[in-house]
């Protein structure tokens, strides 16, 4: 009896919290389809006009392309820097992991706005492309997420044996890594890449301060639109939200499939 009551309370609590958290998102989506929505409880009417306006706007397309470029290059840098280290830490020297623990609290002790202060101080007046500084800095900021996701990829297999057998069979370390290790961590790697891409794609603080208005990414464009055209901005926010939603759904689907597979594998070994 008490258990049942618990469940009902739990459902009510979760519903209330979800409604509260989702309300801003719903409001934005409604606003993007609204003809006009000023000082009324519900919009005056519905239209797709703002969507057409945004999609045909060249500023939007170039901002989108810039954000995608930022996301892709950051993901490549992050993978090149972190993958070898996570591999080595998992396969050869677990003690490194304890030393890498500082990474997990990095975004809390040194958030973007603090890091950018140091970066501006050091690099603003140096003759190096500020774009490079930005790309490296965003890679660093994505580190906690990337690290965690990559670390999870190395659970389950005996990579040391695999890797060393490939070496004995005459592969160079790099070749062995690409041929033997990467195929076995490809799912985890893909998730890490998606997460890194998303964090770079939605980056605002560093891009805005280091490059200013010179490189208008989606978020900076969103901020500019917000000041001038609310409706267009809500369309952009909605598009951005659906982008996040699609990525989360892909990730959940992959993780679910992986989870099922792992359960099956464990089941099989138990039978043996």
């Amino acid at each position: 009896m008490e258990k049942h009551a618990d469940k009902v309370i739990a459902k009510i609590v979760i519903t209330l919290i979800s409604v509260y958290l989702v309300a801003p998102i719903i409001a934005t989506i409604m606003y993007s389809f609204a003809k006009s929505w000023v000082n009324t409880i519900l919009p005056d009417g519905w239209t797709l006009e703002w969507y057409l306006q945004l999609v045909t706007n060249s500023d939007f397309l170039s901002a989108l392309v810039r954000s995608i470029i930022l996301g892709i290059v950051t993901t490549i840098i992050a993978m090149c820097c972190f993958l070898p280290v996570v591999f080595y830490a998992n396969v050869y020297d677990e003690s490194i992991k304890a030393r890498l623990r500082f990474i997990t609290v990095l975004p809390f002790t040194i958030p973007g706005i603090v890091l950018v202060t140091g970066l501006v101080r050091v690099y603003a007046n140096l003759p190096i492309p500020q774009m490079l500084v930005l790309l490296l800095a965003i890679s660093l900021l994505s580190l906690p997420v990337t690290y965690q996701a990559l670390d999870n990829a190395f659970i389950a297999h005996d990579f040391r044996a695999m890797f060393e057998q490939a070496l004995i069979l005459g592969d160079s370390p790099l070749k062995a890594f690409v041929k033997v290790v990467i195929p076995n961590i490809r799912v985890g790697m893909f998730i890490a890449m998606l997460l890194t891409f998303t964090s770079a794609f939605g980056e605002y603080v560093l891009t805005n301060i280091i490059l200013g208005g010179n490189y208008e990414t989606l978020k900076i464009y969103m901020y500019r639109l917000m000041q001038s055209n609310g409706q267009a901005s809500s369309v952009l926010t909605t598009v951005y939200f659906f982008f996040l939603a699609i990525i989360s759904i892909i990730m959940i689907a992959i993780m679910k499939r992986q989870g099922n597979k792992k359960v099956e594998e464990v089941g099989d070994t138990k039978k043996l």
């Binding site: 739990a10 801003p24 606003y31 000082n39 070898p84 809390f108």
Partner: protein, 274 residues
């Protein structure tokens, strides 16, 4: 040795160039005056100016209140989440995950639609002829705004903790005649107390470092540590990078101490239990 070097080289270079060097330079230049000489003038300025003290006060009070509220709500939310079926759990975790990454410019914008001067909430209160007490463009408004990403973050931190608690404990204490309140206060609470401390620290630190949401909502009109740093770098007041460095150093030192203390509490408690 050579392979080890190759493995750590890109990572090391990255950490060195965009973390260690900038943070060290930041520490050093926080102790320099405008001419480059050694002085405490930046810190002096921070602590003796009413404006900058106000920034510190605002940051701490907003973060403290918002993280306390979010902590309580997220414990309750995470508990409720553990009671639901697996598929509902998965959907909700995705929802919370998304609403926490909605923080920043998108959140600021949607809060303006809901609670701005021409927003939905204003329309509702004026039709009902109720006095609208909430002004989103204020310290209270900010405290409220932060809960939209602090609560989902808190739930995602708490959920694994509560989900791993052993369900048999409740049955055991129930059989032994303990009331539910007794079980929660004497069994569950002491076990999760270190996690509560740890998660509170993370929520607090996260709120302290929030720049994007505040800046998008209020520009530099709300004086907090991150917005002051931002305007000191951008030169919207007067560009003064050494002073920004002092602020940033202060921030890092305080946060490192708090996070370290939080970890210590967790470790001591953790050891005592095991």
């Amino acid at each position: 040795m050579a392979t080890r070097l190759k493995i750590f080289l890109p990572f090391g270079l990255l950490i060195l160039s965009v973390l260690i060097v900038p943070v060290s330079v930041m520490l050093i230049s926080s102790l320099q005056n405008m001419d480059g000489g050694f002085s405490f003038s930046n810190y002096h300025q921070i602590f003796f100016s009413r404006y900058y003290r106000g920034a510190i006060y605002n940051s701490i009070s907003i973060s403290l209140i918002t993280s306390l509220i979010s902590l309580v709500i997220s414990i309750i939310g995470a508990w409720a989440l553990t009671k639901l079926s697996l598929s509902t759990k998965n959907i909700l975790i995705t929802v919370f995950n998304m609403s926490s990454s909605f923080a920043g410019v998108p959140l600021a914008f949607s809060l303006i639609i809901l609670f701005g001067n021409a927003g939905v909430f204003k329309a509702i209160t004026s039709t009902l002829h109720v006095h609208d007490a909430l002004n989103i463009y204020s310290v209270t408004g900010m405290t409220f705004a932060y809960t939209f990403f602090e609560i989902p973050l808190g739930i995602m931190f708490f959920f694994p903790v509560l989900d791993s608690l052993n369900r048999e404990w409740f049955e055991v204490s129930d059989v032994l005649g303990a009331s539910k309140m007794f079980f929660i206060s004497k069994v569950i609470f002491p076990i999760i107390l270190p996690n509560i401390v740890e998660i509170f620290v993370l929520l607090f630190a996260n709120a302290m470092g929030t720049y994007e949401t505040v800046y998008a909502l209020m520009g530099n009109n709300l004086v907090s540590i991150p917005t002051v740093i931002g305007s000191l770098i951008n030169g919207e007041l007067v560009a003064n990078v050494p002073l920004a460095c002092a602020f940033a150093t202060l921030f890092t030192v305080i946060m490192t101490i708090i996070v370290w203390l939080g970890n210590r509490v967790t470790n001591i408690k953790g050891r005592r239990i095991s």
